[in-house]
Structure formats: C-alpha cells, structure tokens
Symmetry: C3
Subunit: 244 residues, 3 copies
C-alpha cells in the first residue's frame, strides 16, 4: 500500500493529481490518504507526526511524504528504508525522528529525474513516480547515500504539533516518556491524565495517551483547542507531581 | 462495498488509519467515504442522517458508522443486519431510526476483542476489523443479541440535522411525511416548497425534497444557512396551509 | 480512470454517493478525486480550472464534471470527447475552454434517463452512470449533437479563479500567454515573476507559472490570499515592462 502524508490540506487539486500518477504506475496498489493536513510549510512538527504514524505501515508499504517548503530549490530528494517500510520525501528533516526510532535504516537519494519536472509540484512529478516504483519493488531510481539532513530535533517535543477536527491537540511527546501520574501545564492550566474521554467531566480538559501513543490534550464533548487557545507551537511543561 | 459514516471531519489522521485496516483485511472490497462530517459527538442527529443514507447501500454492503462520544466506556459494540445490509456501530442509538424503518432486522453484539485496543479509537481497532470480516461474509466475531439501546427518538425530527458545504440545511423530516403544499417556519421566516434550485428566485430561501428524501432548506445560488442563521439543532415547524 | 471535478466541497454526503454509483457500475475502474472545491455555483471560473486540469487525463479516461447551478432545469446534459478523453457535464459552458483548446472534439448529448432522477443530484443519478458506462467503452446512452452552449468566455481570464489551501491564488491566465518579464498588478501591488517559492524573499508575494501552466500569485511561506486580500473574481492586469 502507498500512504500519503502531506500538507496539501483537505481540498484542492494536488492530492488528485498525485494519486492519478500513483494509480497509473501502480494500478494494483491501494493508495491511502493517511494525513494530508500536516502543518503547512513546517517539516519540524510534521516530523513528529510522521514518526507517530509510521508504525501503521507494514514492510513493503511506502509512505509518500510531501511537506516541502523548499520545493524547486537545491534540497535533495530521498527514499529511506525503515525496517522494510519506505519513506519517500524531500530531505528537510521530515524523516529524522522516524529514522532515529528505527532499528534498520537504509538511506538513498533519488537520482532519477522525470521528463516533466515542474518547479512547484515535485509530489506529482518526482516523488509519486518513485513511490509507485518502490511499491512495485523497483529501486532503480535510487542510489545509496548517507546524506540525509538531520536537524537534531529533540526526541520528544514539549509543544502542540497538531489540532484535529474535534479540537483535540496532539503533542510531540510520546506517552511512554511521561509518567502516568504527571500533570501537563499549558495555557496557564494544569491538566491531569485520564484514560479516555468518557472518564472526564463533560467540558473539562485533560491529557491522555492517544491512539498513536502520543500525549494529547482533549476535553470531553468539546474542543480543547478552543477551550484553552491551543495551536501548533503552543508550549507545555511536564510536572512530575500532579496537583490534588 | 464498505461505506464510512463518521464524525471524524474532512481532515485528520483517522480516516486513513481506518481505511488502511479495511484494505489490509478486505483488499478486494471498495471503501467509500459516504459521510465523514456527521455532527460531532452527536448520535441523535447523526441517526437521522444514517437512516436517510442507508438506502444507498445494497445487500451485502457494510456501513461502518463511528459517532462515538462514549468510546472507551462500557457502551457495547454492535452489528445490525438490516434487510441484508450491515451496520457496524457503537450502541448509542445511532442505528435506531434505520432499524425502525427496516423490515428484517437482526441484532448482534461484537464479542471479539482485538490485541490492540486503544482507549479512544475503536473505529480503527475494533469496528474496522469487524466490518472487513462482514464484507467478506465472516460473522464469527458476533453473537446474536437483542440489546440495542433504543433512546426512543421520534420518527421525524423537526430540526436542522446537517448543513452541507453549500449552506443547504437538511432536516430530520422525511419529505413524504410533510404535505407538498405545507410551509416550513424557521428562524422567523415562512418558506414554501419548490421542486429544485432553479425554480426559486436567486437569493431566496425555500424548502424542497432533497436527493435523500429529506426536507431541506435551501436558497438559489447562495447559502441558506448563512442567510437564515441555521445550524444543527435549529428548530422548525410545519404549517399545513401555506401563506399566500 | 474516472476523475471527479465538482463544487461539492471537501465534505458532505455527495461525493460518496456518486463514487458508490461509479464503483458499482465500473468496479474495475479507479476513481480519482481530482478537484472537488471548484468555485460553487460558478461554471465560468470552473471552466478555466477544468481546461487546465484536463491534460492530466489520458485517452480513455473520463472527467465527471459537476458544477451545476441549473440542476433540475432544462439545461442539457452532455458528453464531449476531447482527443480521446471524455468530459461528462451539464451544458452550461463548463467545458467551453477545454473544447477550444482541443484538436479533435466530438459533441454528444445524453439521451438516456435513469429510473431514479432526483431534482437536485444529477451527479449521482444521471452523470455518474453515464461516466461509468463511458469508462467501460459503452456510448449507448449518447447521441451526437453539436449543441453545446458556448458563452464565449475569453481564452484567458485576467482574474483570480481559485485559492488553494495554502493561500496561493490561481489566475485564468496561461503562463505561456504572459511574457516572462511582465509584472502583474493586482490589489494595488505590482508583482514580478519568480521561478518557485524558495527564490522569493520569505513573506513576499510574487507570480510564477504553476504546475498546471497557469499564472499563480503566491508568497514564500505564507498565504498570498491573506496577504493581498485575494479571492475568486479579484481582477488583475499584465504590465509588459516590469518595475525596477
């Protein structure tokens, strides 16, 4: 399967054109819209989302990742094999966290160039044909290279990285790195942990381990982002001893 | 075919993860995004939408319905067979109207539990694997049970249940239950019936029987919801004799 | 492949119902969401978008185009063959620009009528079954007819026709019709051309040839539409000699 991870947003003509290329070149492979509203122009928070979502893939699957503010400039195009799963992406740090959390990493640079290469849409023209080829087992457009840009982002990011359509706010913290009885401080509030929505008072905010294993700020039956004024980039702190 | 009916919204990482599970377990079955912006956290209006959309399915099809504010609590998970079509859903009333409008109803509870069961995403972990199994004819994860929660919601709901991207406002009233010459009163206005958009004056609001058989409030060439201030929950009244 | 081009917006129950009809009638054909937020109720700007996107199709592909404010009125339903690619659409000018830019055009009217024909959703009831038939090579629902409505829109439209999710604003001008050193005047500003985003100063607006060959107004790392107050219909002028 080929999974799409982009900042294209929920509308517009880009996903369709990219999907058409994939379906033409790999008609037997399912294409899954995994996440297409990654933070726009922002490889850093997107890298934490990508790393959290990658375990949904299985060996042989391909993640086509396009958060690419440098499109058309000299940044390289890469294809990284992570425990048998492929990530095809611009070389801007987007894959750093996923690489760091994976046992067997094989780095490649995309050396092939298409006949049609627009200045602004390498997702369609460059990355999609390579992703389709990899999904069919064809690595001929790659060359091994250990050149991936590693910005050195922290293992966990103590900030909001994504707000979903319900208003739940994902953080860049893996829940396994936070004590279960810790409190989260953000936006002038101190939040304790609940297991799930129904365990919290209606309308009250809390934190919990979300279905991707991340610390998430939520509220029962309402938007935590609206309630607390959260957006990508909002910082938070972990407080080891929870308040009473 | 498997149809998705959720309140996940038009963006985010949830539909993709759920679809990936379906495609892995039932690769030969088409997955259709039927409606994924059902009213969030709101099984009641969603139940009227689900009942109106269910006739689009054919025997053997599966509707995977996830409007599930009680996820992770003790609410049961059910699979209901309605004239040969399956609905897989949380047991919170979401299927009540559809059940009441169907001749042959067979109720089942989902007794299977997956190895991975997150506290907040049973759509991916529990309902999708069961939907994929049912689409392949496998009922082994179910047990017959007549326990479905029936909140006793009325057959028709005299209120707005959904506003679409054009600003058309669907009601919970089946058009067959409203006289064709009746007027609808809402938001301080009295609206008469037209057959379709082009029959109304540009910019003027009216009601009509929409393509799902529901009474819908619309305006020719503009947003009725903006024009009249409509949102899910806005009440309305039927006035048997239309105004001149 | 069947490509969808509609003004249904990124959410709602319409795309799913239409896709279900296509999948039932042509299960072996891939369905691609090409662009589903074409300007609502607006065939004119949509016609420029459609013409720009049509080259993404290959012979045998079908574009199902539904921007149809006159649905349910007497407007005809047409199927146009353009260099071997099909466009199925209401006859309201939506296909005019594409027809004018194509060598071999064969016009047909849809003479078939379905058993179920709602007043407001011909996309599902009429156009989708015809598109599915054409994708399978069946033209039996058509009759040749040279009656397509041609509103006489200009070859290039000096105005914004679409704003994408990043805030980039497409114009109805083909880049090949504008000198590379020309400036674009709009919203009280004069913009020069850049090749791509990374070549412009962060936060500054410019114009460039987008991946569909259109003149597009953009800004590096931010929303040009917000920066300049652009929306569909905003006029612009080409100034042959750029400012210094």
């Amino acid at each position: 399967m080929i999974f799409l991870f982009t900042d294209f947003g929920p509308r517009g003509p880009y996903l369709g054109q990219m999907t058409a290329v994939l379906q033409r070149l790999a008609p037997e492979v399912a294409v899954i819209d995994l996440l297409n509203d990654a933070p726009a122009f922002a490889p850093r928070p997107s890298a934490y989302l990508l790393a959290a979502l990658l375990p949904e893939l299985q060996p042989g699957d391909v993640l086509l990742a396009v958060v690419d503010p440098g499109v058309g400039t000299e940044r390289a195009a890469i294809a990284i094999e992570l425990d048998g799963r492929w990530v095809v992406a611009p070389d801007n740090g987007l894959v750093e966290l996923a690489m760091r959390r994976t046992r067997t990493v094989r780095e490649h640079v995309i050396v092939w160039r298409p006949e049609r290469l627009s200045a602004s849409f390498h997702g369609r023209d460059l990355f999609a044909p390579v992703a389709a080829a990899l999904a069919r087992g064809d690595r001929s457009r790659l060359a091994p290279a250990s050149l991936s840009r590693m910005p050195g982002w922290p293992d966990d990011a103590a900030e909001i990285i994504y707000v979903d359509a319900y208003g739940n706010a994902m953080t860049g913290l893996r829940a396994e790195s936070v004590p279960a009885d810790a409190a989260i401080e953000l936006a002038g509030r101190t939040l304790t942990r609940h297991r799930t929505f129904g365990d919290a008072r209606p309308g009250s905010a809390f934190w919990y381990e979300n279905s991707l294993g991340l610390v998430e700020i939520a509220a029962n039956g309402t938007s935590a982002a609206d309630l607390l004024g959260l957006q990508p980039g909002t910082p938070l702190a972990i407080r080891a001893t929870p308040v009473a």
